[in-house]
């Protein structure tokens, strides 16, 4: 009996709880804060999978960057005080139906598929392996990612430009 299942289940409960809070809470600002919690929990899941580098990337880019810009967007588009920030949901039944159908479909597939039950022992440094793969085998997508970032930067600046 190791510590790993306890950590996994604690993180799973945290993740599912905060994800439900993201989609169910009335206050949009609270929604974003719960999303930050969910993304941090995902970084914990990455740690249990021995992916320290990805946990760091997750915290820096997602929990740091994405949450900050979402909060900025809410501040720009809503009034932080008053009732404008509350949000209602619609089509609750349809949402449950669609999400439930997708969940059942994926779960039947996952539970039937022949999957490895135990993880192979670590071979060397995972971060080193990621870096080597990134700059050898996947160097073309890596460079294309730079182009994508340039396009996203220009596009976001263009859309959000001040009025002439």
């Amino acid at each position: 009996m190791s510590l790993e299942p306890i950590v996994f289940w604690a993180l799973a409960v945290l993740l599912v709880g905060s994800a439900l809070a993201v989609v169910l809470t009335k206050n949009l600002f609270h929604s974003v804060l719960y999303l930050a919690l969910a993304l941090t929990g995902t970084a914990g899941i990455f740690l249990t999978l021995d992916a320290e580098f990805l946990a760091a990337v997750q915290l820096l880019l997602y929990a740091g960057g994405v949450i900050t810009i979402v909060v900025f967007a809410i501040v720009v588009t809503e009034r932080l005080v008053g009732d404008r920030i509350t949000q209602t949901s619609r089509h609750l039944f349809n949402g449950l139906l669609i999400a439930g159908a997708v969940l059942v479909a994926v779960l039947t597939f996952v539970l039937r598929a022949p999957l490895p039950a135990a993880r192979p022992p670590l071979e060397g440094d995972v971060t080193r392996a990621i870096g080597l793969a990134l700059l050898t085998r996947f160097v073309l997508p890596f460079e294309l990612l730079a182009v994508l970032f340039l396009v996203a930067l220009l596009g976001a600046t263009y859309f959000a430009r001040p009025d002439d």
Binding site: E4, P5, A12, L15, A19, V22, V23, L28, V32, A38, T42, I45, F46, T48, L49, A51, L54, Q58, L61, Y62, I69, V70, F72, A73, V76, T77, E78, Q87, T88, S89, R90, H91, N94, G95, I98, A99, V102, L103, V106, L107, V110, L111, L115, P116, R119, P120, E123, V126, A129, I130, A133, L134, R137, F138, L145, A152, A156, F159, A160, D163
Partner: protein
């Protein structure tokens, strides 16, 4: 933990995110649901990478995270632009293209 546990967790998170995308009326709320779904997919990728001993899945996760950041940036810029033109971010009120 077997790989199934991670996959089931990711499937539950994906379904919750999908529920949010379908039911939220605020455009930013919909974007948050999309974030949850992409996040669930990342858990799958890292799980498969670890259990198959192949770092390619983790490299793919790096790409997925970076592309998500670019996506949310452009998405929020669009939301701000829409808000400036229509003074609303409620998805039901954005019916400019309705014939």
């Amino acid at each position: 933990m077997p790989l199934q546990a991670y996959l089931v967790l990711a499937a539950v998170l994906f379904a919750i995110g999908l529920f949010g995308v379908v039911t939220r009326r605020n455009t930013i709320g919909i974007l948050l649901g999309i974030e949850l779904m992409l996040n669930a997919v990342n858990i799958n990728l890292v799980g498969f990478a670890r259990y198959n001993g192949d770092p390619a899945g983790m490299v793919f996760t790096v790409f997925a995270i970076c592309i998500t950041v670019a996506e949310i940036t452009v998405g929020l810029a669009l939301v701000i632009l829409i808000f400036r033109i229509r003074r609303t971010v409620i998805a039901d009120h954005l019916d400019l293209l309705r014939g």
